[in-house]
Symmetry: C2
Subunit: 212 residues, 2 copies
Amino acid sequence: MTARPFLYDYWRSSASYRVRIALNLKGIAHDSASVDLVRGDQRSPEHLDRNPQGFVPALRIDGLLLTQSLAIIDYLDETRPEPPLLPPDATGRARVRALAHAVAMDIHPICNLHVAAHVMARHPDAPEAARQDWMVHFITRGLDALERMVGAGAYCYGDTPTLADICLVPQIYNARRWGVDLTRHPRLVAIDAACADLPAFADAHPDRVKPA
Amino acid sequence: MTARPFLYDYWRSSASYRVRIALNLKGIAHDSASVDLVRGDQRSPEHLDRNPQGFVPALRIDGLLLTQSLAIIDYLDETRPEPPLLPPDATGRARVRALAHAVAMDIHPICNLHVAAHVMARHPDAPEAARQDWMVHFITRGLDALERMVGAGAYCYGDTPTLADICLVPQIYNARRWGVDLTRHPRLVAIDAACADLPAFADAHPDRVKPA
């Protein structure tokens, strides 16, 4: 018997949030543990053995230990095809991946915890203000482009949720956390609201998985 | 007749370099034009119509205009399967994607031109030094993890080049550009050298495509 999948998670990690949504969309029952990024658990030898990058998420599944949220989600989609997280045609997949990567490559990493910490360290006079400016600048810039890139359907691409929505929703959560003005992004806000109506997205929300 | 593929390129862009390697590995004849990122061509209305993100590369192919280097490479691999850029099994694909994303998500975006420019603007007293410190810090950190993640074969994963090598080689070029000490990364340096022996990689090198 293969062990039940196990997610090394952190409630506020966008990358973990993506994998939680994907696991829910696929209906994959699993257990999880919190790796407390604020306490520094990700730098423990135990976690670095799981993931030399010192990031969450990591997922034990099918006897494997997988890292990198989008690689994990591709694996889930390939091994558990229903419901699909990518369109059936190569063109559609290219569009969805471009949208997903516009968030996962071009916004999220720049605003990651360790990058923000480095920015703060370089501005010892006003670290909080430096972080705040940094977050708002790069999230706004990225979402401005994304607003022009998404389609006219209910979701980022067409009328079913895809990998692009899985990346968008945690980024919008993050934008709100940092007080980004989203009035410039009505399409993205509408898509985020449509996703919030789906249990797979709602159940993955940070507030629902935050350790007590 | 479908038009010949056309790449909007920039010689020093890591993301463009990746797509050049992939086009070469697939043997896809194409034309290209330089979008001069230093001159600011990427912010022209013409280029923003191609890509609202204002990034290179963008690729016209099969009547489509595609953006995001890894989405483009996945599209090429799906529509031109030989030689494959990903392993045949889901586990191998997850490993290769994790390696590729450890570069393309966790190093490259943080060191992108527009991010470095923002760092420099925040340090008007010593902008060049601030940029240099930034580059070395994040490239070193990322490569340290990657050195632990790659396999024991000739390339990042096994004995044929994959998407992971396509991401690694431009990052090593970039590391050398910024004077990163690579003595800590003997495996990565060896893989980079193995790739350099392949015409598909050598012909894509920035020095080979730099405008006169």
